[in-house]
Symmetry: D2
Subunit: 431 residues, 4 copies
Amino acid sequence: MAYKDEKLNEEKVFKDPVHRYVHVRDRVIWDLIGTPEFQRLRRVKQLGTSYTTFHGAEHSRFNHSLGVYEIVRRIINNFENRPNWNEDERLLCLAAALLHDLGHGPFSHSFEKVFKLDHEDFTRKIILGDTGVNAILRRVDDNFPHKVAEVINKTYENKLVVSLISSQIDADRMDYLQRDAYFTGVSYGHFDMERILRVMRPMEDQVVVKESGMHAVEDYIMSRYQMYWQVYFHPVTRSAEVILTKILHRAKELYENQYSFYLEPYHFTSFFAGEVDLQDYLKLDENVVMYYFQIWKDEIDPVLSDLCKRFVDRHLFKYVEFNPNQQMSEWMELHKLFQKAGIDPDYYLVVDSSSDLPYDFYRPGEEGERLPIHLLRPNGELKELSRQSDIVESISGKKRTDHKLYFPKDLIEGLSNRSKTKKRILEILYG
Amino acid sequence: MAYKDEKLNEEKVFKDPVHRYVHVRDRVIWDLIGTPEFQRLRRVKQLGTSYTTFHGAEHSRFNHSLGVYEIVRRIINNFENRPNWNEDERLLCLAAALLHDLGHGPFSHSFEKVFKLDHEDFTRKIILGDTGVNAILRRVDDNFPHKVAEVINKTYENKLVVSLISSQIDADRMDYLQRDAYFTGVSYGHFDMERILRVMRPMEDQVVVKESGMHAVEDYIMSRYQMYWQVYFHPVTRSAEVILTKILHRAKELYENQYSFYLEPYHFTSFFAGEVDLQDYLKLDENVVMYYFQIWKDEIDPVLSDLCKRFVDRHLFKYVEFNPNQQMSEWMELHKLFQKAGIDPDYYLVVDSSSDLPYDFYRPGEEGERLPIHLLRPNGELKELSRQSDIVESISGKKRTDHKLYFPKDLIEGLSNRSKTKKRILEILYG
Amino acid sequence: MAYKDEKLNEEKVFKDPVHRYVHVRDRVIWDLIGTPEFQRLRRVKQLGTSYTTFHGAEHSRFNHSLGVYEIVRRIINNFENRPNWNEDERLLCLAAALLHDLGHGPFSHSFEKVFKLDHEDFTRKIILGDTGVNAILRRVDDNFPHKVAEVINKTYENKLVVSLISSQIDADRMDYLQRDAYFTGVSYGHFDMERILRVMRPMEDQVVVKESGMHAVEDYIMSRYQMYWQVYFHPVTRSAEVILTKILHRAKELYENQYSFYLEPYHFTSFFAGEVDLQDYLKLDENVVMYYFQIWKDEIDPVLSDLCKRFVDRHLFKYVEFNPNQQMSEWMELHKLFQKAGIDPDYYLVVDSSSDLPYDFYRPGEEGERLPIHLLRPNGELKELSRQSDIVESISGKKRTDHKLYFPKDLIEGLSNRSKTKKRILEILYG
Amino acid sequence: MAYKDEKLNEEKVFKDPVHRYVHVRDRVIWDLIGTPEFQRLRRVKQLGTSYTTFHGAEHSRFNHSLGVYEIVRRIINNFENRPNWNEDERLLCLAAALLHDLGHGPFSHSFEKVFKLDHEDFTRKIILGDTGVNAILRRVDDNFPHKVAEVINKTYENKLVVSLISSQIDADRMDYLQRDAYFTGVSYGHFDMERILRVMRPMEDQVVVKESGMHAVEDYIMSRYQMYWQVYFHPVTRSAEVILTKILHRAKELYENQYSFYLEPYHFTSFFAGEVDLQDYLKLDENVVMYYFQIWKDEIDPVLSDLCKRFVDRHLFKYVEFNPNQQMSEWMELHKLFQKAGIDPDYYLVVDSSSDLPYDFYRPGEEGERLPIHLLRPNGELKELSRQSDIVESISGKKRTDHKLYFPKDLIEGLSNRSKTKKRILEILYG
């Protein structure tokens, strides 16, 4: 039997707290899960620094990747024998779902920002490079790795397949909303996925949802909205991320200035140098990063040492609402006051802005355009969601931004009480 | 106001997936949670290697410690104004609940076995030594650290207080059963804790349960039984633990034989030498251990390198039922066959035995005696649980043991097909 | 001890699927629950005809009334020792919460419409009249029944007390959304009530919610919105209600025309005559109504008999979208066509319109004005919810109406295929 | 297309709180659900008088019947293409599952006892008689009604089919344990049904369970055990049932003695006379029974009137532990004392005994023999459950009985305080 058609003797199942069970029958999928590159996702947290706010949020990307695979498996099961659905795309969909996050590194967001990396690049490199994953995909057929990479890259010609993994109501989002809600314990993030799956229909170039399922979709959109503001953009989580980013900046700066580390930061050197190859990348998981942060607590450089203590021991920055665009003069004054107080503003005075677009209709030609959700009416007509739903219409296309200023309140409070600088800083921050 | 009586301005809450919210009003508790020693528990998994079987089981001991604290808080709330309850013990109970697992190191079980350590020793040392935790406890009163250590050590004079944390139905067990069930996703582990808490009553020397709550307690005992055999003793989890233990053994052996590691294993040297001090211990969390395992994948020693690859990439040993007491000759023959095949049996042929005593009545004088659960009858009389409950009686005092033999099936299968050794090994293992 | 202060020896608990347990310590509450008038609520379904759509929706108003009581109990517990809260109002709040739906009759909505009754009137009459409930309330103090009635009537002077039971975020709504979601099994209806309760604060004339709980309140508002359109206004449920209403109309009409019923409808005669006294009202529960509907299945009058069969055996009317305001000519034509076909349009051609206002800000002077929800900011300022929340703002004050036309499709299809009337009817209905 | 193979254009779903959705594709099943006889099950509560103890337990047998159907549907889905499974039996299994409880009357247990009826008899009569259900089954094929009746009667030749509906681990039990737990709100009743369904395998004459699922089955057996003692045999529920039974006895006795009822009890007369035909039976649902109980509250006969008030207004009998076999003399003395006090012991002094056999191995030849559960080992061998499971072994074959004595404590307390009779009664009852 061809490798691509091989089934396991007995279906394997993973006990999953969110979907109850994840089912695997295909030998290819089973083998992919067993590769070192996929197992590595156990060592990258799904929610980065969110565990500092929600202690339950310690789950890994391994968890989530299995979940996305399982959702796609269920969707496809329902597609069997429907028009527009080609059963030959089945394995491709499953593999792409499983592997879509393969390139995520430790604390992805911060690493990408500081070292100018792109996790999607690395996903592609892992799939196409000299890896265990590639070896298995090639056994399916020589072109299979490329097809999987294209689906994840959204350039695959069959847009229906792409839309299963990347659209405004894809398996990725449906999994992470529920999973992150489960592990954090928040009560947002519930929606009737079973119903949504049941009303999904394959069309030529996208998955659509039968109009009768509109309210379930509304509920999903609202879940997403709440999860962004209640969980993903939680200001305490962002405080941890601000510190993490500054640690990486500092270490890079020290390295560039020939600072002599107590232990040579082997795992980081190619990142500092901007020459990260695939093997370097795969070795740097969150355990390794945390190892360095811990030994850097004892470094001589006071900034690096202080920031690492803050991160490891969860002694975070405080924050106030602050919009630098509208408060430019305060911002500049604070900068100067921090310098005067001997607290380096480059590391200790940070504005972080988060913004979210909860749902968007189609804006052709615009940057980052996203395909909207379409409802399928009984008469076969398609209608864009926000035209049918008052609630979705009301939040559609409206970007919301939150600006916060982060700083080490303890250091400021540690200044002499007679210090005018201290008084003025507190005045600006707390009014 | 005395430090011990200080309340936070606003109650703080932690969102907890198991108990919904963990509530903190006492300044002392809040400060303890903020210490580096307590935050370190985020870097030690609650279930060690169970994540290799149940991918959701990635939660930390930090999680669990907050949960135990919360349960004790609720029990004590119900005790207010009841006979036998002394409100002065309140803070002591809360602190002991929060800190009871403070001394757990990475993958505790294996480390304790290989390096002959005792996590309870380290709990005591952290509470009494020069630590952030000790500093806070001492602010309550000079003798407070000692009292907390005594409660955790079960030597505190008020046995009622001890029984909240360590008995056959204590806050520790009630939390971990529910929490581990939640994160693994198994359906065992549910019982009506709210009811049990409502019928708990303080007696002079122990917490007892009103007879009307007997069925809820039965359910709890059954949960415990199922969790042990379905989760804690899962053979795949034990496979990962077998490998982990062998890694530590090998590294120690290499160190003792002056093997030259690519990177000096600083964090381990005091463990290898049997001279672990408190600071060494606190630095060795699971991130650090995993860091070493990863770099050891590239070590020259083939055994260390192979075992580390197996552990990190989850390429585990297979197993068969095997009772070495009854199968001594096969055991010895296998030993020889492995040597002949060039597979070192000291590292690659391992028997692991797990046993559990689901509930025990009192056996005075015996080793490891455990206080039984007592039911309070309407007439004030106490009855030992197994005398009232048929189900508990049926499993009471009955130890169950499971023996498994672990080995690298892939290495054996890799032997030449003409090899008689291979044939004989497979014959013994699979009949 | 005064009756109002009497506590039960042991707290009583009711196992409740929604709130886990309902706790009762007050003798007065316990005694009220035991009255025949309160027990009668077991014989009135919470959701009327919804069970015809959602088979789980068989729960009674007894269920819900206990739930509202429990929520108010928890809110008040949190109010203890807060400013603006007077502990003397405690029992009044609990009693009013428990009894707020006491006057609901069978299938309230339809009965009120056909017989021009008002369940709030009957609540008042039961509380003030010669009933078991009144006897108990009077034991508290002579004026207590009046106070309870005033709270339920929203005329009590302390508006804070009133707002616990009747406002846009009161205990009534919080219970029914969760309870109806639980019993129907829909996934809407979840929100974090525990958090809302924790951030509720008593103000002089209303309960407000701390701003930090805004997102939980948003979630509650969205739940409410979804429950209205997905459950309460479900078109199948309304079909059953349309038939129920028509049965009552027909029976009344027959009675007025001296029709001779097989069994004299004793329980209904005062309703037909428009002279319902308290005792008649209390006797007519849903069992009794269903008894009559069943025997009326065998009545000679074909309309009464047919409608009762439809209702009892769940053989409902079909429906199409239809707005009589915009489709007046079709409406009139259908009327004539039905007459021509011998299907009495007064009973078999029914427009039903449902509309909901999901949230409303204050509109002083307007009919049916409802107090908006206020958020309490850290600086003590109050802000109306829709000014702070984009989502709430988007649905605020926007009434949505749904019009449907109900008819017996089976009767129309039963007409001769050669009938032009049939053809034309189907043309108008289905286009 | 043959009627038996007809599929609905679109799958229909029922929202079910226990199984999320109940799926129907077969026209036959859809039509059966629409029959008056099946709809009648909405008017019979699943748990009889349990709602007097657990207010959530108001769900009907309609609910449960859909659930059993859905479970069988899922089991059969997994059986497709397995050896021993004949796809031709599919529709038979589904129909039998749906209809297995069709003959249940109001408060079945009491009615069966008092009027010597057998609900299984009536199930058969409804399936084979002149009913809507029969008409539909006959459209499948002339012999189909008989086959369905045989499956329900356990006499169908293919025992595999029978075992799906009636065995110690059948769809019936799996549904009611979960459903009754859900509606009562108790935390017992959870087990991993999804896993059990996945490991069920069809054998020649029974369904068996793969050995790897043993712990899930243990959990199910324990759930069953707890549900019996915590819910089904709850002493308060039995108090309501005792009263109900006595009402029926009294009404029958009065009827036999030509008592003149205010309203002729038409619906009951054939029951009193012992000549119940199918139409009488179908008309007597719980609404009708409750109607009579309510009007009997106003009957002249003091016993009937008192008992009906107790039942309708939930003013139940109290109880004490009492074993008449061992307390014969107290029993006889109480009898006399009640007579002396003017409280008719035939109606007001009742012993009720409940007993359960949680699991039973096979006892050939014994009355009421039940097929045990068999585990399927990897080598194909079958093992009876209690031989593999310590826990099941421990409760296997052990019948547990609970005796309680019920009486109207209020009437006894109402006797004069100087009465020696009163004093002596209370002495015997409460010691």
